[in-house]
């Protein structure tokens, strides 16, 4: 048993002996200290600089800097490069340092949490980071699990304990963990201290749902599974305390293993920008080559003859070497076409946009006091290009709150809200046990209960008996229900408020208070729910001895099993059911059946027999259930609203008007998912067809997909869509490529695909078919998908459609998809915050998505594009002047401008106006972009900045440079000052060109800026002003007297700018540069206005004729569709009748109910009170008196 060969690098198996630190230390397992920070004070500077110089751009500028130190090459002073480089490096370093500081802080906070460790037989408080593998630690209720533990014992019977794993996998329901029976008996710390079992198990991995290991103790082997494990990140619930043995600690825990390093996301603009920068670099090399060739020619033809006046530099002995040096010299002076400030400016702009997102009041949720947060600052403009949204359902589209909304009893429908002002019913007078949070508006139903309508009574009696809810009574009358699914909780609560209060249960009885009278039924059997049966029943004997079966289930299955005499009620009820379904409500049909004593005896016998069967027990049980659930009498139907988050249908409508396709990926069942699809108007009854893919084999899935496509083509041909025309054109329809054909599908289709079918559809040979089918549909719903599949679907679309994807979700099960999508959005609030932490943006309401995309995303994209266009234009205009000058200065790499001007041009003279435009510009105001979702389209089509736009900018820049060089050339070469001194000297020329350049690019930014805030004014005029002030300062006598060798341009500014000819030249150059641009823009605007231009124009003329977005809202027709959906799981019936969970201690339940805001019980209790903030823990953890 003693393997001393321990592998730190590749651990093959893990051995842990309890209470034996010395033994465990041999293996050097990771401690429980986690470290997510990258630097410390000493390593920061070298490591950070090293990282920064791994960026190509930074290395490039460093290389330039080195080139500039060679005197024969240096065409510019070293400071022209080092000043911007230092600026860039320090800004990035400060940002990195801040980030790391916060990581240090949060690491410390977690590492210093207290936990109780069993050391030498006594419990001692230890910091989390000091917990070692092999320690036994005690956890108390509602504590976070500190490391991955093997559950040893618990205060609950059978060594059970309850955990909530929302942080880990996003599932909100509680999970049960059980210790191995031998250790569960250990109980108290004294026994545990002497426990010396050894665990041999798998090495650390990231599989959350799997664990395999063996416990060796007292010469015996016990196998361990995931059922015995408590993982870090879980929270202990409903359990007073438990003890666990640390198996994996710190970085080895499954939580940390899962949180791995994420890919750094880049936006498509980023990628384009990198390509363009490479191109520009190639362009730069070409320019360098041309000028070097020119230099060779010049030096050979002219320079060699000119040597009497200008000798070659010492190492240069022929024209070729001179050309070689001149190439590098030109690389240095032309490098400003890719200015280093580009990257910094882009970061600054994105940071600004992120702050605007954080500051947006309209994305602030006052109920949960959460503002939207841009967690990454690098993706903003991509928000303006989204084409596909992948959304989680629960907690994202829905609130995961169920409300009893309507019901149909004996052919009479209740709960139709005719008058919206109708007041909420007050149950407290009628029923002291009523849940005050329950809302219902139709007083007819209450009347019917009060007058004692037998059907109504029976209806609610059913609801109070037929369920698997557990109840706790804190004090008399203060009931707390623990339902396994929220729908069930809603039904039982409804019954409670209408006078049929479920009080308590034992394995054999159910006690209710019916209209104030306590009745105890004996529970004879629970015919449990499962997905095939889609119904559950209970058989109870009332105090009078009558045996009755109560059944609730899907209308599709239940209506088939009714007694023929129900025909009339059934037809009315199914009409009601259809109405409810059309409203997107979840429906259940309710029925009962009386059983005689004999029937019961006979059935009970067959049931017992089936129950004991060893083979095919499931099938036999199902058959037995089937046998008794016949000839039932219909009572009515219930309709439960799965409450959508606020504004979901509207948001979806607006987003789809903006041409964004929305896919819902949910772990829910098909019925639930489809139901939500209808209620949030993704699916509508007037859709041409909804395809459901639920095949279990590759073949069937392929076939179903094919059939769907054929149907689509057929239908759209029928409707005379684009495909139809195409096909009619040729006598024999040629086998068009799949994608072509499918792109032209018209008509509204929807696709619903099941998880198991999706698994096949995602296989390599079918994914093309799947994508083309799914993308032809308006709406796609994938149900029963695993977190991995969610990510796969996103990856598939990314790969196949090359479209920008956005994933939005709230649970840990959405993390994979959030991480793999271009943009991940986390809904903060309900299910823990793991999703938020993995996300790039977070906010608390789905409806904020439309503002994030249509307003912030759109603006960001627009601003970034305008910024980039202008930036490239500006730098080409600035730099290319050197190129033209090269032809007149012997290709000697002489710069046109003063070196200080070159240094400051990008970082002082022209940086702020374009930054202000990049941060503040707006083409249309925010409400307009929501009003006209089509405004979003240019982003999706990538119209504002692409290679074409880039070339236009470059061309404009080059044109400007030509004008800026040749106009002064033509004017100044013969001009003189008014005192006769020629103006054609180098310094005058430099000042004239520089001034003209600054003025032209300023006029251009004036043209480009569409939204002149005070900042724009200050920056534009300030930059112009600063140019003149700084120039006069640099050309002043004072500076020259101090450093005569540095400031050659003394006096040039005033001497030049006093000349009218110079100003006339500048004005001329400006006019020649700007007039064509102005004419071109005007023509474009006048002849082919974009939607945004039109909207802007109408804004201007103040024709405020508001037009609401024409949505697909409203239209709903009668459909023959089942609204059944029930978020219920199998197995709880058995647990109840076995009585195993009956000591869900009151304490545990009470505190459970209070702790976690997202738990079902809270949602139930809060129900309609969603507008009040969720209650917190502290105040309600008072223990309940034992009932």
């Amino acid at each position: 048993m003693t393997h001393l060969v321990c592998c730190v690098s590749a651990e093959e198996e893990r051995r842990v002996r309890a209470n034996d630190r010395e033994y465990n230390e041999k293996f050097q397992y990771a401690s429980n200290c986690i470290m997510t920070s990258k630097y410390n004070i000493i390593t920061f500077l070298p490591v950070n600089l090293f990282e920064q110089f791994q960026e190509v751009a930074n290395t490039y500028f460093l290389f330039l800097l080195i080139l500039q130190l060679i005197p024969q090459i240096s065409s510019l002073s070293w400071f022209t490069t080092i000043v911007p480089l230092a600026l860039v490096l320090s800004i990035t370093a400060v940002k990195d340092a801040t980030d790391d500081y916060f990581r240090h802080k949060s690491d410390n906070q977690v590492n210093n949490r207290q936990s109780q460790v069993l050391i030498r037989g006594s419990l001692q408080n230890e910091k989390w980071m000091n917990v070692r593998v092999g320690d036994i630690i005690k956890l108390e209720n509602n504590q976070f699990v500190a490391a991955d533990l093997l559950l040893l014992s618990s205060t609950e019977p059978h060594g059970l304990c309850y955990i909530e794993t929302a942080e880990l996998d996003g599932e909100t329901n509680m999970k049960v963990r059980q210790s191995v029976s031998v250790t569960s008996e250990l109980g108290d710390p004294n026994n545990l201290a002497s426990f010396d079992g050894e665990v041999v198990c798998e090495p650390p991995n990231n599989k959350l749902d799997r664990f395999s290991g063996t416990l060796y103790w007292r010469e015996k082997k016990y196998s361990l599974t995931n059922q015995n494990m408590l993982l870090r990140g879980c929270v202990l619930r409903n359990t007073e305390a438990c003890y666990g043995l640390v198996i994996f600690a710190g970085p080895d825990t499954k939580l940390m293993q899962n949180s791995g390093r994420t890919k750094f996301k880049r936006t498509s603009i980023d990628r384009l920008m990198n390509t363009l920068v490479l191109w520009i670099f190639g362009f730069l090399v070409c320019m360098g080559m041309i000028l070097a060739v020119g230099n060779a020619g010049w030096e050979k033809e002219v320079g060699s003859l000119f040597q009497s006046y200008l000798a070659w530099d010492t190492p240069v002995n022929n024209f070729l070497f001179s050309a070689f040096l001149s190439f590098w010299s030109y690389v240095i002076i032309l490098n400003t076409v890719v200015p280093i400030s580009l990257y910094v400016s882009v970061e600054v702009i994105r940071l600004g946009h992120s702050y605007f997102i954080n500051w947006d009041q309209q994305m602030f949720c006052s109920q949960c006091n959460t503002a939207a947060e841009a967690r990454t600052t690098t993706l903003n403009e991509e928000l303006g290009q989204v084409e596909y949204i992948f959304s989680d359902k629960t907690g994202t589209l829905t609130q995961n709150i169920m409300t009893f909304n309507k019901c149909s009893i004996n052919g009479q429908s209740y709960g139709d809200l005719t008058d919206p002002l109708e007041t909420q019913l007050d149950f407290s007078l009628f029923n002291p046990l009523a849940d005050p949070d329950f809302c219902f508006y139709d007083d007819k139903l209450l009347e019917s209960v009060k007058v004692g309508d037998s059907c109504t009574h029976e209806f609610f009696r059913l609801l109070s008996l037929c369920h698997t809810v557990m109840s706790e009574e804190k004090s008399e009358g203060e009931l707390v229900y623990k339902a396994q699914s929220p729908d069930e909780g809603a039904l039982v609560t409804a019954a409670r408020n209408f006078g049929f209060v479920f009080r308590s249960r034992t394995p054999g009885t159910i006690t209710t208070t019916e209209m104030g009278r306590t009745v105890t039924y004996s529970l004879l059997a629970i015919l449990d729910f499962n997905n095939i049966r889609k119904r559950m029943s209970v058989i109870v004997r009332n105090p009078e001895g009558r045996i009755r079966l109560y059944c609730k289930g899907a209308d599709t299955v239940l209506l088939e099993r009714l007694h023929p005499c129900n025909q009339e009620v059934m037809s009315i009820t199914s009409d009601h059911l259809n109405e409810y379904a059309a409203d997107g409500l979840r429906t259940l049909a309710l029925a009962y059946r009386d059983l005689s004593e004999d029937e019961w005896e006979a059935w009970s016998e067959s049931h017992r027999f089936a129950d004991k069967a060893t083979d095919c027990r499931e099938d036999r049980l199902a058959a037995a259930y089937e046998e008794v659930e016949q000839n039932m009498m219909l009572l009515g139907a219930t309709a439960i609203e799965d409450k959508l988050q606020e504004g979901v249908p509207e948001t979806i409508a607006v987003l789809s008007l903006a041409n964004i396709k929305i896919w819902v990926l949910t772990g829910d069942k098909q019925e639930t998912a489809v139901n939500i699809g209808y209620s949030c108007k993704m699916l509508t009854d007037d859709m041409t067809e909804v395809f459901i893919i639920s095949g279990h084999t590759v073949q069937s899935v392929r076939q179903e997909l094919r059939r769907a496509r054929e149907r689509m083509i057929e239908l759209s041909r029928g409707s005379g869509g684009g495909v139809g025309k195409q096909l009619h054109g040729s006598p024999l329809p040629p086998p068009l490529p799949l994608s072509n054909l499918m792109d032209n599908i018209s008509g509204e289709f929807a696709l619903v695909i099941n998880g198991h079918s999706l698994a096949h559809a995602l296989e390599a040979d079918m994914e093309a078919e799947f994508v083309s089918t799914a993308c032809a549909c308006k709406a796609v719903i994938c149900c029963r998908v695993t977190p991995l599949q969610k990510a796969q679907v996103v990856e598939l679309i990314k790969k196949r459609k090359k479209a920008v994807t956005l994933a939005i979700g709230d649970g840990a099960n959405d993390i994979s998809m959030i991480k793999s999508a271009h943009i991940g959005v986390g809904i903060s609030g309900q299910e823990g915050i793991q999703a938020v932490l993995a996300s790039d943006y977070s906010f608390s309401q789905f409806r904020f998505l439309q503002r994030l995309l249509l307003v912030h995303g759109r603006w960001s994209y627009l601003r970034m594009c305008r910024f980039l266009c202008y930036f490239f234009y500006k730098n080409f205009a600035f730099t290319m002047v050197h190129f033209w000058f090269g032809f007149f200065c012997g290709f000697s790499a002489q710069t046109v401008y003063d070196q200080y001007f070159i240094t400051l041009f990008n970082i002082v003279y022209t940086s702020l106006p374009v930054l202000a435009m990049g941060i503040f510009d707006q083409d249309v105001p925010d409400h307009r972009s929501l009003e006209y979702p089509k405004l979003y389209e240019p982003g999706q089509l990538n119209l504002l900045f692409n290679k074409r736009e880039f070339f236009i900018c470059i061309a404009q820049g080059i044109y400007t440079s030509v004008v800026l060089f040749f106009v002064p050339y033509a004017v100044l070469s013969n001009a003189t000052q008014s005192n006769g001194v020629p103006l054609a000297d180098y310094q005058t020329f430099a000042v004239t060109t520089a001034t003209a350049l600054v003025i032209v690019v300023s006029v251009q930014i004036v043209l480009d800026t569409g939204f002149w805030t005070v900042f724009n004014h200050v920056f534009v005029w300030g930059s112009l002003g600063s140019y003149f002030i700084i120039m006069f300062a640099l050309h002043s006598q004072t500076l020259f007297r101090i450093f005569p060798n540095q400031f050659h341009f003394v006096g040039s500014a005033q001497s030049t700018l006093l000349q009218p000819v110079v100003w006339l030249t500048i004005a001329l150059a400006t006019a020649i540069c700007i007039v064509p641009v102005l004419a071109f823009r005007f023509l474009k605007l006048d002849l082919k206005p974009q939607l945004s231009d039109t909207v802007r124009y109408t804004q201007l003329v103040r024709q405020k004729r508001r037009k609401p977005p024409e949505g697909r809202l409203g239209a709903r027709g009668g459909s023959r569709r089942s609204g059944y959906a029930f978020a219920h799981q199998e197995g709880f019936g058995e647990l109840i009748t076995s009585g195993k969970n009956m000591r869900l201690s009151s304490l545990a339940l009470a505190s459970f109910a209070s702790r976690h805001s997202s738990s079902w019980i809270d949602t139930l209790r809060r129900k309609k009170h969603t507008h009040t903030p969720p209650s917190t823990s502290g105040e309600k953890t008072t223990r309940l008196s034992e009932t």
Partner: protein
Amino acid sequence: MMASSYSAKDEDGHITVSGPGGGTLRNKKPENTAFKQQRLPAWQPILTAGTVLPAFFIIGLIFIPIGIGLYVTSNNIKEFEIDYTGDDTSSPCYNCAKNFSWNNTKSCTCTIPFQLDQPYESNVFMYYGLSNFYQNHRRYVKSRDDSQLNGNIDSLKVGASSPMASRKKKKPSKECEPYASIDNKPIAPCGAIANSMFNDTLKLFYNDPNGTSVPIPLTSTGIAWWTDKHVKFRNPVGTNSNLTAVFQGTVKPVNWHRPVYELDTDPENNGFINEDFIVWMRTAALPTFRKLYRIIQKKNNMAPTLPRGNYTLVVDYNYPVRSFEGRKRMILSTISWMGGKNPFLGIAYITVGSVCFFLGVVLLVIHHKYGNRNNSANISN
């Protein structure tokens, strides 16, 4: 760039998630300021026909008169140019140009007769022009020591051979190489620019109709920038005010005939502050350039400065340009408020103005015929 997605405080999630709205929690609601909500008041210009078309017309209407004014002014300026390179055998300077040698101590003189058809009123400016001369070459431009020219005595010191000494005593800047020193003696003024200074001497004579040749007085001061003369260029101030003594220990540039302290007899125009030198040191932007050489001051209000008639230009031919196919010119010009003759500016203004005006008309037509400015009514979604 990689980022770790896990932040340790995550597990604490619920603690940070809000509580019962009690006053204990900070309200995180963003401030409702115009800045943060991006509602800053803003001017939103838009290119409409109402703004763009008038702009074109206005530009046209401003530029055309300016252009006409400039053109007329430029046409009123009189300019005379004569090339005396001596490339051509018929040229009077052919012999001087052909026989040029750097070793000639005696300068070659040639006389070029010319005729002015019009009288030149007011002050007349005399320029020399060079072509194909790359004063804007990078190596040429930087080859000077402004510190030396500004009278810094250290830059005139002997370059020390030992590194210890060189740290204390400066010598002409490295930029001046290879014209920094000869035999370890610093050159004053150093550098390629100074070395290649234009040293032809030009004299003008008016051939009176009665046969006498009258020399025309040429003013050689007032031809440089004020800042150059008074700030940038200063003679080194040594222990005594005698320039010769100050420049003791330096050598003249290789191509020069005289040392820098003998450029002129006038002490205000000698040494580094000699205006011919200053003018030369202000390098030209383009390979063809002219530099102000002398000013012919107007004498009285009655007679023109240069009456029409025959003149003779007498050149002391010292400056070789044939080796690199350069040209030398002498230019006489009068001047206006906008400087010398410059027809391009006027023509350019007239052209741009007309183009603008024409564009305005064309755009107006296009706008009326095809412009489909949507009104709000037909914004389609």
